[in-house]
């Protein structure tokens, strides 16, 4: 392996890892607040891609307007799902709300199959993102290059928000103790909606970054990345944002290097083995809370 090929693999791995990290944060935050694994998150990621196709292909809007529409529409979808499918079950046993999440996941997949057919649709290309750039012998597209940078930026901003703002403090309080924080006057529904807004915003951003270099969208496209990001969140310690980010990068890099070594059939296998190993030896993940929650 030459050094330029090695760097190229690293870049590809970090880039896909960054996208996994963005989606994994959505899983980990919702879990932190609601103790719910939002199985529909991967499908929200898929719907964001269809929103983009609508905006740019069907309505022929310019890319900067389209990106805005995708972000807003995805956030609205996420909040509506929370209101309709999760909020009425807030006092129900945790298993019910999780089953509801699985139901929403299937609903979105089948709705997309019904509305857009199962045939893959082309994802519109955003001019400047798909341009090729060459840096020191490595050739790549702009989007691959900016993905990890955007990921780090978003994680930094999110940490600032959680640690230094009032709503962030409320979120930390809710994740510590749901009922007590309610008694202390925290508007819990607002906090939960806000969590979904952030999660869906990151999923929509991830969707744009993911589909620009991989321009094929079909109704089940969100399920495998969704599962991998869930594993990334578990690996980093579900509930922990830096953990989810680290998990995303680890999975992205290991996947790429396994494919590079010529064992592409084992790249997904490795990800799932990682999940089993983590659950066996460190169930709380790398940065997880000490108390294990039964799911």
């Amino acid at each position: 392996m030459t050094s330029s090929a090695f760097l190229q693999y690293c870049l590809a791995g970090i880039s896909i890892g960054g996208i996994y990290a963005l989606i994994a944060i959505g899983y980990t935050m919702v879990y932190g607040i609601l103790r719910l694994i939002n199985f529909a998150h991967g499908d929200i990621f898929m719907m964001a891609a269809y929103f983009m196709i609508f905006a740019m292909v069907d309505f022929a809007l310019p890319w900067y307007v389209s990106i805005g529409i995708v972000l807003v529409a995805t956030v609205v979808l996420g909040v509506v799902i929370e209101r309709v499918a999760y909020k009425p079950l807030r006092s129900a046993p945790r298993m019910s709300i999780m089953i509801s999440a699985i139901g929403v996941s299937y609903l979105l997949q089948n709705l997309a199959t019904y509305l857009f057919s199962a045939l893959p649709k082309g994802y519109p290309s955003i001019g400047f993102l798909t341009k090729s750039i060459t840096v020191g012998g490595i050739s790549t597209s702009v989007v691959t290059f900016i993905t990890p940078i955007l990921t780090l930026l978003f994680v930094f901003l999110l940490m600032q928000l959680i640690n230094h703002t009032k709503i962030g403090m409320a979120m930390r309080a809710v994740s510590k103790d749901f009922e007590t924080s309610q008694l202390m006057g925290i508007k819990i529904n607002r906090v939960i909606s806000f969590t979904f807004i952030i999660g869906c915003f990151l999923a929509a951003t991830g969707s744009i970054l993911y589909f620009t270099p991989r321009p094929s969208v079909y109704p089940l496209v969100g399920s495998l990345p969704g599962t991998k990001c869930f594993i990334a969140a578990v690996f980093g310690g579900i509930g922990s944002i830096p953990g989810a980010m680290l998990g995303g990068f680890v999975i992205g890099l290991s996947e790429t290097f396994i494919k590079a070594a010529g064992y592409s059939e084992f790249s997904d296998v490795f990800t799932f083995i990682l999940l089993i190993v983590v659950l066996l030896f460190k169930p709380t993940g790398l940065f997880g809370e000490k108390i294990t929650e039964k799911v």
């Binding site: 392996m1 190229q8 082309g122 090729s132 060459t134 050739s139 270099p213």
Partner: protein, 409 residues
């Protein structure tokens, strides 16, 4: 309530009568379907909906056009009208068997189709048991005709295609090194790739990277980086349309300079539309080219078929919105004409003619088709020795050359 029961009983009896009718034709099945009356029914077994609906429809159009060119056939002094019986196999293996059974019960003596090997393999047994011969048009998987005496086909096979691409790469372009990217576990992809590898190596070339990917893979960065690092002069990628649209932009992004070669599935406008400039220069093999004027028959077919399409705007829509001649339409036309040639060769055969006689006639047929001369080997595959190579240039498919298979023969 009584009325309802009476109605139910009546309908049950009607159904059992219908079943008797079906049973009658089953008995005749051992001996095939007889040719009688003054009409010969030919089944058209194609997908017009589902995954392969678009391509299947183009094949049907070729068959319909052929029917307008040769609507009758003379056997033993009788002029028979040829009637097409069309069914939709929905690109689905289960629906295919039902569709095949409905064709048999409607009394067809021969079947044309299908686009897509999977449905043809699924329905093959139904035709064999009924003793009705079928001619596949564009199903390239070896399994379609293997072990089935009643299935023939007019196109070349996957192994042939891989070999043709290898001779193009090694001899025409003079490449010494090649890389292969194929889909793990997919018969079509791995089959062609294996034959490409074998032929390329026997022509003195070296395969410097042999990469595989998983079904539904969307990230080819790692594989393409490996191919780039291997410094291969060309990379052969037999894959589905969906995969091709994903690989091309990623190959451009990682700065892959190797010449990209594809397989027959790549002859699809959507690849060029989705990949844009990344598709430029790609060369792939296909069955037919409308601009090939080396045979007068092909030229007549192209002109006639274009006129047929333009007669009715509906036909242009069904053809995908253009009056371009797809290779599968030509194969459909050839399959029909081969069937007619076999029927005509029954002239002079004594006794009551059945579909089994038609099968024997097909096995011995020699027909000059628009996609080349058609004779069938003992497994029922057309003996074809040439494929058409096309290149993407300026967003269009441009004919490169007719490539003869120099290693297999």
């Amino acid at each position: 309530m009584k009325k309802f029961i009476a109605l139910a009983l009546a309908s049950v009896m009607t159904f059992s009568l219908a079943a008797c009718g079906g049973g009658g034709s089953d008995e005749a099945a051992v001996a095939g379907t007889p040719i009688s009356g003054d009409t010969i029914k030919i089944g058209v077994f194609e997908p017009t909906t589902g995954e392969n609906g678009g391509g299947g429809m183009q094949e049907v159009l070729g068959i319909r056009y052929a029917n307008t060119v040769a609507p009758t056939v003379d056997i033993n002094g009788t002029t028979y009208n040829i009637e097409l019986v069309e069914v939709d196999n929905q690109s689905d293996k289960t629906a295919a068997v039902t569709a095949a059974q409905s064709l048999i019960s409607s009394g067809v003596v021969g079947v044309l189709g299908s686009y897509g090997s999977g449905v043809s393999i699924a329905a093959g047994q139904t035709y064999a048991e009924a003793g009705v011969p079928a001619i596949g048009c564009s199903c390239t998987n070896p399994q379609v005709t293997l072990g089935n005496d009643f299935y023939f086909r007019t196109c070349f096979l996957d192994p042939f295609q891989g070999t043709v691409m290898a001779s193009y790469a090694a001899e025409e372009m003079g490449y010494k090194t090649a890389a292969i990217i194929s889909q793990n576990g997919d018969d079509y992809s791995t089959g062609i790739a294996a034959y490409f590898k074998q032929a390329f190596e026997s022509l003195g070339g070296t395969i410097v990277a042999d990469e595989t990917y998983q079904t539904n893979e969307s990230d080819f960065n790692a594989i393409l980086t490996t191919v780039k690092a291997s410094a291969a002069e060309c990379v052969f990628i037999p894959c589905s349309i969906a995969t091709a649209t994903l690989i091309l932009p990623q190959a451009q992004a990682v700065g892959l300079d190797a010449h990209i070669l594809g397989s027959d599935t790549w002859e699809n406008e959507s690849i060029v539309m989705a990949a844009g400039s990344a598709a430029e220069g790609v060369v792939f093999s296909t069955f037919f080219d409308e601009n090939d004027e080396s045979t007068p028959m092909a030229k007549d077919f192209v002109n006639g078929f274009k006129a047929y399409l333009n007669e009715d705007p509906q036909r242009v829509t069904l053809n995908g919105g253009t009056d371009g001649v797809a290779a599968v339409s030509a194969l459909g036309y050839d399959a029909y004409m081969t069937m007619v040639a076999a029927l005509a060769s029954l002239d002079g055969v004594e006794g009551d003619l059945t579909s089994v006689n038609l099968r024997d006639a097909l096995a011995a047929v020699n027909h000059d088709g628009v996609t080349g001369n058609i004779t069938f080997d003992e497994t029922g595959d057309a003996n074809k020795d040439s494929a058409y190579l096309k290149k993407v240039e300026g967003g269009k498919f441009v004919f490169v050359k007719k490539q003869l298979d120099e290693t297999a023969q």
